[in-house]
């Protein structure tokens, strides 16, 4: 059987070579080289693998920005068209709950950052799990508060649709506002739930002592995701809860 890499087109122009190690790249008996147990076979080394994973997460977050971006663009357009209506509608949101939830999320971002740090410095598994657990607890708290707020909206007929009731002067813009409110916070809450799912996997991995200073990529990229969800809320909070001058109350 002929050597496969000599089976080229018999032209005379294969000069200069495109590849310096032409023989080596051809299929032959595979020799396993010693490498980190976490290194996937298609990467050259750990550095490449880590860089790829981090970049991948960042690129994903860019798509997330655009995903929420569609909603923010709609918000911008409608608020530009109905500044008064949006302000009026916003006043029915509970600023206290909103503030509490903002602080809860910021604290969870801190615990998340510390969870990543603890993995980075090869802290004991117990410490890592503790930070991850704290983050998850805060995330759940956020969702709990959100549930209270949603219940309140249901009972006050503030859910858009046939049952929407609005006593104020701007019923139509208010319905648009609440449509956007539910879409934006709902989508955000779904991201929180997904985040909790990711964190529970990360928690189990940490418990099994899989993270140390040489390998902590999963907890790092989970952290990127968590912080991103926090950032979305940092914008949602003022845009939804705080518009239109609460000084008039």
């Amino acid at each position: 059987m002929p050597n496969p890499h000599t089976e080229h087109f018999p032209g005379p122009f294969h000069d200069p070579p495109l590849v310096a190690n032409l023989d080596a790249i051809q299929p032959h008996e595979h020799v396993a080289l010693p490498h980190h147990p976490r290194l996937q076979h298609h990467f050259d080394d750990m550095a490449q693998q880590i860089e790829a994973s981090t970049l991948g997460m960042w690129v994903f977050l860019v798509t997330e920005i655009m995903f929420f971006g569609g909603l923010f663009a709609a918000y911008l357009v409608y608020r530009h068209a109905n500044p008064e209506g949006f302000a009026e509608a916003s006043h029915h949101l509970n600023v206290t709950w909103g503030t509490v939830n903002t602080i809860v999320l910021i604290v969870s971002s801190l615990t998340m950052a510390l969870a990543v740090r603890s993995a980075q410095i090869s802290a004991p598994a117990k410490t890592q799990v503790a930070w991850i657990g704290a983050t998850m607890l805060l995330g759940t708290t956020f969702l709990g508060v959100k549930a209270i707020e949603y219940t309140d909206k249901f009972t006050h007929h503030l859910v858009p649709g046939p049952n929407f009731r609005w006593e104020g002067k701007h019923p139509a813009p208010a319905e648009i506002f609440y449509s956007l409110y539910f879409c934006m916070t709902g989508l955000h809450a779904i991201h929180m739930i997904i985040g909790l799912g990711i964190m529970s996997v990360i928690g189990v991995m940490a418990w099994r002592r899989q993270f140390d200073e040489d390998y902590y990529t999963p907890v790092e990229i989970a952290g990127l995701y968590w912080h991103f969800v926090d950032i979305v809320w940092i914008f949602l909070f003022p845009l939804l809860y705080l518009i239109g001058g609460h000084f008039r109350e």
Binding site: V62, M66, L76, T99
Partner: protein, 89 residues
């Protein structure tokens, strides 16, 4: 380090709630957005480690927000509607 950033974020939150109760006219929105952007930048730079990231990470994260602005340019249509008298558009 993380605690300092955390402190700044909490202060930002309190500031933004307080600012919402002060009548500054259209400035309210500006202040609100400046605070929100500052907070977001702090999270991105420190919690998300972009401060220590490669140049590519900088470019990718900046590109995300840049494209968001491109999407927001849709508002241009709404602002310029009615500029041509008699056409209603």
């Amino acid at each position: 380090m993380y605690l300092k950033v955390f402190g700044a974020l909490i202060i930002g939150t309190i500031l933004t709630v307080v600012a919402a109760k002060v009548d500054m006219g259209p400035l309210n929105n500006v202040v609100m957005l400046i605070i929100a952007c500052t907070k977001a930048s702090l999270v991105i730079l420190f919690f998300m480690h972009v401060r220590w990231g490669t140049r590519l990470t900088w470019v990718v994260s900046a590109a995300g927000f840049f494209w968001l602005l491109l999407l927001f340019s849709v508002i241009g249509d709404y602002i310029s509607r009615g500029w041509v008298p008699g056409t209603l558009r």
